[in-house]
């Protein structure tokens, strides 16, 4: 039944948006961290979404969430790492530089709001589908 699948589809979207929100939380928590080299510096994390298509049904997805969404990978933000001269910092390299994370707090806040709204949308979709199902069950009552 088609209405059944909406719970799977909406659920997959709630899951994906939660992963996205987790990435934002991690980014914001690490916004102020410094590191001793460019390679070690914290880079912002982004969840990459992909639609679950018919031919991709495998172990962790089933017929129920076909057409839903999943997170395929978490990528690093490619924007450059800033370096700051701070010889007093214990993390500083031999020239006295520390490497800041490339997280932009404003972008993260916007990302968080977008994830929040998408989550709410999908909750609403599931709620409506649930109401429709209940109404359909009530047919036999009258």
């Amino acid at each position: 039944m088609a209405l059944d699948n909406i719970f799977g589809i909406g659920g997959s979207a709630l899951n994906a948006q939660t992963v996205r929100m987790n990435a934002v939380a991690s980014n914001l928590a690490n916004a102020g961290t410094v590191a001793g080299s460019d390679a070690e510096a914290f880079r912002g994390k982004r969840a990459v979404f992909k639609a679950i298509l018919d031919d991709q049904l495998n172990g962790n997805s089933n017929e129920n969430n076909k057409g839903g969404v999943k997170v395929t990978e978490i990528t690093d933000d490619p924007s450059p790492i800033k370096r700051m001269h701070d010889p007093g910092n214990p993390q500083a390299d031999k020239d006295g530089y520390v490497y800041l994370s490339n997280v932009n707090e404003m972008t993260e806040m916007v990302e968080m709001m977008a994830a929040n709204r998408s989550y709410q949308n999908n909750v609403e979709v599931i709620n409506t589908a649930r109401q429709l199902m209940m109404r359909t069950i009530d047919i036999i009552k009258s």
Binding site: L3, S118, N121
Partner: protein, 127 residues
Amino acid sequence: MNIFDSALSTHAKSLTARSQRVEVLAQNIANADTPNFKARDIEFKKVFQNAAEDTMQTTHGKHMALPVDASGDGMMYRVPFNVAFDGNTVELNIEQAQYGKAAAEYQATVNFLQDNISGLRKALRGE
């Protein structure tokens, strides 16, 4: 075709078609942030005609049932007003409006079905 089929079949079939449409719209909303996702919709008329033709043309016991046309599932890609930067064509406000409308249509069909059933009940009771 008995009395229940003739009284309920139209609305029962349209209920299936409507629930399919609600599902497709739910898929669009779930993929509102997926890069390169193309929003889809179902043309109710086409799905319903496919379902209706199948029963209308087998009025005699010796008639053969039409094979179901798999290609004509009525699924179409939506033409967006603006394509997003990442190639996504889901326009959330439009999908929300369509979803609300589809839910209302589903409820209307449920109401029709309910009326039919209570009518049949009355006839059976002989009130």
